[in-house]
Amino acid sequence: MSTVAVPARRERRGFFAAAWAFVKRHVLTVYSILFFAYLLLPIAVVVVFSFNNPTGKFNYTWQGFTWDNWRYWDGVPGIRSSIVLSLQIALLASLVATALGTAIALALVRYSFRGRASTNILIFLPLSAPEIVLGASLLTLFLNLNVVFGFWTILIAHIMFCISFAVVTVKARLVGFDRHLEEAAMDLGANEWTTFQKVTLPLIAPAILAALLLCFAISIDDFVVTYFNSGNRITFPLFVWGAARIGAPPQVNVIGTAIFVIALTAMLVNVLVQMRRSKGAT
């Protein structure tokens, strides 16, 4: 139908049109590159300043290159204990939250029961409540129960806001799950528990892992909820906050860069492995 009209239109285009087409084709690419540069700019600043050798207390102007900050990364009092605490909390919180969240996700997707809608809302609410409200309400609870603030209050807070993330992550995978595999296993004589162990669990393992990682990342980065409920224990984000008021030392940049590099490497490996797998699959 249109084959007659199109070539006639095309001939009239000429050079400028071709140039314009080129620009149009690549403007998105250029824009995207600029976008990535914008995203990475503060990160670059963080990394670069981790090598700075400031003369005074303050790490704001570039004064010289040094490896010292990396060598003596725990030279600033309190930084090591804060990072250790953050890691401990993140590990425990992500394990517990993922376990609880996976169970909830299984229940939500596989079963119909009374209160399903309310459960969904209950899971959704912590995600939609501003962190400051979460932190403040927990503070109120702990104060009223005369609880001593410290490791356990921080841990409870972190598990609380991680559960919802775990549920959503695992649920997404469960929803696309092919039930026929389980049916087949059952048909072959496996009971429910064995089926779950040998078929279901391995297949949702990536989602569980993703939930673990997501919870870990969220926990290690959390500031607001922890700020309200930490008593006098100091996690790494709390340490950064305190340090910022007096002039953050370069070691803060060092730890920030280290976290970035480790996380980036892990994700990069994951992505490359996936790309290889999909290449092999096609």
Binding site: G115, L145, N232, R245, G247
Partner: protein
């Protein structure tokens, strides 16, 4: 369908509904799982703890700039074996008090053996009045005899049973000479259009109101509604005009050092540790504020170890070294006014240049022009609320 009413639903409804009154009540009555503080006010154990937890303001102790250690604390450990966990988490009195009062009011320990609060704000006297401070073990502090006379009987602690001064200081104006002409008066600070958005004012009532009252020609030692309103409104006007960039606690220091501020209402000794020779500090033309920071042992703190530490810093030689630092080894001193007799002489021995430093040895003229804020006004609820609303919201 009550058989399907799960416990979750019950709690949910209770929390959201009118039963909210009873559920928290019930839970609160059941829950008293917080550990009460085990600080002994009856019998003090004469044993040094392994760690002393010391919360202080920033830029407030001798610092080795190369390795970020504090020589006086290192020496303390060598001499007594106790490691000092020195945490610079006090940025302003109101904020720190807000953080600790929840636990202290429930008799819980805050995990600190020594904290430092200022006498020109209400919180120091509140902590003592409410019984949140442990009594000092004076038997362990023979050096208390070195306390300067003027500090021996303050009205918040007439017999020095709960507190000892850490340092005294003055509030004035610091400016960066690369960014502005000298800023020497409140008029300049608050109303010079060239400084718009490049200055900060302290968020502490005792400091800011004192200075502005003096600039208005009023007497900050006897605050009246009229003088309060005049000073408060002047500051508020500058804030509304965006003349004031921020109300700050000790956190003006990084911004000043960075060059984001041309001038800042600031505390005298801080500029020594900021270490930028372009930054100068002066008592404002019309006068400044005088205050003293005091060490306290909060509930649950280790009284004996804290007292031993206090005794240590009241040794004139130690105090002198803390004041002056050691320029040769790149150690910056505190550069505030020491409360210990004889410390000044020792400081001069360690670094003769400090003899002429008015931060440690204020001239008579300076001391005359700095005033202490009316302590009655500190607890005036109306003033406090007005002030808090201005600086934090």
């Amino acid at each position: 369908m009550t058989d399907h009413l799960t416990r979750r639903q019950l709690l949910q409804r209770a929390a959201l509904g009118g039963a909210a009154i009873t559920v928290p009540g019930i839970l609160a009555a059941c829950g008293s799982s917080g550990t009460k503080a085990s600080g002994g006010t009856t019998s003090v154990e004469q044993k040094l703890a392994g760690t002393l937890n010391f919360s202080n303001w920033t830029l407030y102790i001798d610092t080795n700039n190369k390795n970020h250690t504090h020589p006086s604390l290192v020496e303390f450990k060598k001499k007594f074996g106790t490691n000092v966990n020195y945490v610079e988490d006090i940025n302003d009195n109101a904020g720190f008090y807000g953080k600790i009062q929840g636990q202290l009011s429930r008799g819980q320990s805050i995990g600190r053996d020594i904290i430092v609060l200022t006498d020109n704000d209400r919180y120091l006297s509140q902590v003592i009045k409410k019984g949140w401070a442990e009594k000092l073990d004076k038997a362990a502090i023979p050096n208390i005899k070195n306390l300067v006379d003027v500090q021996k009987h303050p009205n918040f602690d007439p017999n020095r049973e709960f507190s000892l001064p850490w340092q005294s200081g003055m509030t004035g104006i610091a400016y960066n000479d690369t960014l502005t002409d000298p800023v020497l008066s409140v008029d300049d600070l608050l109303e010079n259009p060239k400084l718009k958005g490049k200055i900060t004012v302290l968020n502490s009532m005792g400091d800011a109101i004192t200075i502005v009252m003096l600039a208005n020609g009023d007497d900050p030692t006897k605050v009246t509604d009229k003088s309060w309103n005049a000073a408060f409104n002047r500051i508020k006007k500058a804030a509304d005009n965006k003349q004031i960039r921020q109300f700050t606690g000790n956190d003006y220091a990084p911004a000043l050092a960075k060059g984001d501020l041309a001038a800042a209402m600031s505390w005298s000794g801080d500029i020594a540790q900021i270490g930028n020779k372009h930054i100068h500090w002066n008592v404002p033309d019309a006068g400044g504020a005088l205050w003293t920071d005091n060490m306290l042992i909060p509930t649950g703190g280790d009284v004996y170890t804290a007292s031993v530490y206090m005794n240590y810093v009241y040794d004139p030689k130690v105090q002198g070294l803390m004041e002056a630092g050691d320029p040769k080894r790149d150690i910056t001193g505190i550069y505030y006014i020491p409360p210990v007799k004889g410390a000044g002489e020792w400081a001069k021995k360690f670094d003769p240049a400090v003899a002429s430093n008015p931060l440690i040895f204020p001239t008579a003229k300076m001391l005359d022009s700095v005033k202490i804020f009316d302590s009655k006004a500190l607890n005036n609820q109306k003033y406090v609320t007005q002030w808090q609303d201005l600086v934090s919201a």
